[in-house]
Amino acid sequence: MSMTKKLGAGFGLALSVTMMSGAAYAQDCTTKIGAVLPTSVDWGRPIAETAQFAVDQVNAAGGAAGCQIEMVLRDTQVDPKVGVDAAKALVDLEGVNVLLGAVSSGVSMPILTSVTVPGGVMQMSCCSSSTAFTTLAEEGKTNGLWFRTFATTGVQSAVGAKVAQDKGYKTIAVLYKNDDWGQDMARQIAADFAAVGVEVTTSVAINDGQPSYRAEVTEALSTQPEALYLALYPAEGTAAVREWISLGGTQNMIMANALKSDEFRDNVGLQYLGNALGTDTASPRADSADAFRAAYVERFESEPNGPGLANSYDATMIALLAMEAAGKDASGAEIAAAVARVTDPDGTAVSADTAGFTSAKEILAGGGTVMFQGATGNVRFDGNGDVSAPAVVWSFSESGIEEVEFLSLDDVDAFIASLQ
């Protein structure tokens, strides 16, 4: 790229930022936030788009903490080295106090231990699920700077067990994605199935990118389970389920939220998914969740059905609300401390859109607290930066994804307690 082109591109960027701010309020300052997300991976790009979407909404409400927000996005390539370097560059060169990301736990963790905690930067991940973060926080090594909007696997797995119990399945086989999320899911779901008296006949790991999963599927099939539990992503999930069904496996299936995708439904075929029930953490029964859906559909012309989109949106919104609550020129630690003020269960409810952000600004300016009602629910962090959430049981239908049952936060907590 020639120098003039670089300058031109830089100028264009500066111009577009200026024009955006001009459209809202006459502000002349810009605060940068960092995002390290795997944009070179197919499912990572929509997650980044959704984060930018939240930033745009906040900028339309006049920005946060008195300034327009610019999200500087860096690709992790799902490579820990690259992700850590990108995070370090954002913190040192761009001076960000808030970092969104990463997606993979194997990337988020070294960023946390070697960049954000030493640098006093708040890190908010949409999608990292490893239980290692909870342990790290319990040891007091995250300094309260770590948050994630991805409900721990505990909620999913408990609701999965509830579905099996309600359906009266006696035996079940588990296929899980062979990464930290899948391994956690497999371990927890086995414990939860045992607690409700469902026998796990076998638990088979599914590795990414294999041309065929015949061996794995045959292994699961040979145990003759009444039902199948799937903790898989759409790509390998499609391949594995196709082979499962073509080999005569049962169509009684329970799916974790990662399979909540139109692509999976279309590629497997709806006629085979009649008895398939999915679980997910749910939106609250509030107008704000509908507002998010409506705004998302209007912006992207599709339903927010991909993995991690709602989580990414909430992560971004909460981070920006916390920046607003912490005020101008707040440090990362101050912003992290302010998260409690914007996710306060006793606070005033605010919706997940521009209007919600505007009203939150007024309440926070008056010294009040707000309860952010986001795309994944009334997000509430515990002391380790983890979230619990209401849950939903869903199934596939002609038009997309249909809700079967809703479990409120209290229902979920009560059921989890009954499993202990």
């Binding site: 944009t39 490579d79 290692a132």
Partner: protein, 318 residues
């Protein structure tokens, strides 16, 4: 300003660690002609070994021996050497592409072992809970990063000097002789199999050293750190820098890692806003093009190997 320096120190630390790894590969490929396609297995063995030996106890898997740090690092290197010894015994009779495929298989097996054997190294969650040495005394911030960089730099220089001595020695000549014509070396009464194994193990111990430092720097290692991408990156550094030339190996590491990170930074800063989402993919294209271009126009690298005629009584410079 302090931010720029802080970042440069961080960058130089990563680049220096990678440079040590490239030096290890250079001994194997550049000097001895062993096509090691499983760089990450030895790098990973060093990283996992160091963290398991030197870390705090973790529930559910091996570890928590809390060894004095230099011992843990040496232990990591020893584990890498042990893996190399076993792999070498099994595969070094293979030549060229066959060796590459066999070692590549070893690396994939290593990654899968780490991903699945939760009792060994935590499975996909990886190994954490490692306390970086002297952290209590130096804190967690900039001072520590400078200190750690200096340590890595000293180790890099020591490795470089060691390898320079090694390749200039009669043993180094023997390595090149085997690389050029194994049968000729054998006809002079040398034992190529043994020498190949020694070079393979030495190079792998250096790769393990780099891995140990890498694990220490991040205080964390997971199967995601030992994906085949890393093998590819280290090979790219060696090819661009110049195989057979230790200075080229170091130069290549800094250059490729610099290009890798700078292209990401430049794209995030200068690419038009609507293209921001695609910069990750653009970066792959850019880096791939650089390597293809190098192979087409400078196949011997930026600092090619200097061929020397060894003469009695004069110190050869390699």
């Amino acid at each position: 300003m302090i931010g720029v320096i802080s970042y440069l120190v961080f960058f130089a630390t990563t680049a220096s660690i990678l440079a040590i790894a490239v030096l290890g590969l250079n001994l194997q490929w550049g000097n001895t002609g062993l096509f090691n396609g499983g760089v990450v297995a030895f790098f990973g063995a060093g990283a996992y070994g160091t963290l398991i030996l030197g870390g705090t106890p973790q529930a559910g898997h091996l570890g928590g021996y809390g060894l004095f740090y230099p011992l843990a690092l040496l232990g990591g290197m020893a584990i890498a050497g042990l893996v190399a010894w076993i792999v070498g015994l099994l595969t070094l009779r293979l030549r060229h592409d066959y060796l590459a495929i066999a070692t590549f298989g070893v690396a994939v097996a290593f990654e899968n072992l780490m991903r699945n054997a939760e009792w060994l190294a935590g499975g996909a969650k990886g190994v954490r809970g490692f306390e970086r040495p002297l952290r209590d005394a130096l804190g967690d911030g900039f001072t520590y990063n400078i200190f750690f960089f200096l340590v890595v730099l000293v180790i890099l220089i020591a490795t470089y000097l060691f390898l320079e001595r090694l390749v200039a020695s009669p043993f180094g000549r023997l390595l090149r002789a085997i690389r050029e014509d194994e049968e000729a070396a054998q006809s002079l009464g040398k034992n190529p199999a043994r020498v190949r194994l020694m070079a393979f193990i030495t190079g792998s111990v250096i790769l393990g050293l780099a891995g140990g430092l890498y694990g220490t720097f991040y205080a964390f290692v997971s199967p995601q750190d030992v994906l085949p991408t890393l093998t590819f990156q280290i090979w790219a550094m060696l090819i661009v820098g110049g195989a057979g030339n230790n200075r080229g190996a170091i130069f290549g590491a800094f250059l490729i890692w610099g290009a890798w990170t700078a292209s990401g930074w430049a794209l995030s800063r200068f690419a038009p806003i609507e293209a921001q989402l695609y910069t990750g993919s653009v970066q792959f294209i850019l880096i791939g093009s650089v390597i293809v271009g190098m192979l087409m126009w400078r196949p011997h690298g930026l600092l090619p190997e200097r061929l020397v005629v060894s003469q009695r009584g004069k110190t050869p410079s390699a």
